[in-house]
Symmetry: C2
């Protein structure tokens, strides 16, 4: 019996978009474990989210669930991957080859999300010219040249915050499609004219201290 | 003229809690720039959030704004710091002294949020016994001993995912108050009996690829 597939070409709210990566991770784990079908109740228990929230989220882009039958895990995973752009192939460079840049290079995260790392950049003479695994560390002065000739979509900013704005502007001028910004400087689409995703790891630390405080009050 | 301070001892929704760290960052920048008062309209422009959302969020825990007068930046910052637990002093250890652990050690993030780093742990003979800045790298086998004797509240997990669950359980058994987990293994409060904040950096990458895709469709 085929599920009815609704058209998904409409806007999904940003709250749902923020939750989708979590579904992506859980569905991937289910797939890897060979699970083909799952009910909203089981998914709810796994993810610690109410079943009604799950049904509501997944209905946002077509549902795919059937009463008493559950969700087709593979289909849902594929669909969410498409929505998130994981099925597309993007090429990225990392600008800043310090510890954070190196930690990212070593992570399987990029490959799992359809992103290929092409090169690293830094301005330190101690690092420029070296290879890190399969990746070469280029001089940051070579950014323009390299990006023009290598079809790069994404730049990951792991450099000191003092360089953030100027480097982001250079990348935007080069027509880069997206900037993944770890510098803690808030970069804005409006200023750069290119998509920016700002990472503020410290926000997560404050959520932790908040929750420790709440737990202590109980 | 004094603002009326409402009682803030009630539950704040988790959606608001997730937004508070962002207010904290912006208010801190305003304070550092010497700004004493700001209207919801100005804050709205800065933060790229609607003024009504801002009023609604800040009213959640007492408001502090006055029509035509704006918010008292210092008071709001202090209040949000209290709610987030930034005013408390926590002591933390980092378990895993690879690139990610080192990147965190080098970040001013902890000090800015009232968290003091006390030590690093690793199981690699190449690292154990070394000092990194003011921090010593201890053998991971010393965790129990060290934590019992040094009043540690928070453990930051930056070790390989294969060690995540076992190490988190050891830390929970030691009565640690909170685990900040970078391993990409989903740790649960229900399993450990201690507060866990899971960081999934890859989720942010998927939000970026989603937004690149959306921008391309326009």
């Amino acid at each position: 019996m085929e599920e009815k597939i609704k058209n998904t070409n409409y806007r999904i709210s940003s709250a749902v978009i923020k939750r989708l990566p979590r579904y992506f991770r859980y569905l991937r784990e289910l797939l890897e474990a060979g699970t083909m079908r799952i009910s909203s109740g089981e998914l709810s228990k796994m993810m610690n989210v109410t079943a009604s929230q799950i049904r509501q989220d997944l209905n946002c882009f077509g549902g795919f669930g059937q009463q008493g039958y559950g969700y087709n895990v593979k289909y849902l995973y594929t669909k969410i991957s498409e929505i998130l752009g994981v099925d597309k192939e993007y090429r990225a460079v990392i600008v800043g080859a310090g510890h954070l840049g190196m930690a990212l290079v070593g992570s399987p995260m990029f490959a799992k999300r359809g992103v290929t790392l092409a090169a690293l950049f830094d301005n330190s003479p101690d690092l420029v010219g070296k290879d890190y695994g399969a990746l070469h560390i280029y001089d940051a002065a070579e950014l323009e040249n390299y990006i023009k000739n290598n079809n790069i979509d994404i730049a990951v900013l792991t450099l000191p915050r003092a360089y953030a704005k100027e480097t982001a502007q250079r990348l935007a001028n080069l027509g880069i499609k997206g900037i993944w910004n770890f510098t803690n400087v808030e970069l804005q689409f409006e200023d750069l004219g290119t998509v920016v995703q700002n990472v503020h790891i410290g926000d997560s630390l404050m959520q932790l201290t908040y929750r420790i405080g709440s737990a202590e009050e109980k």
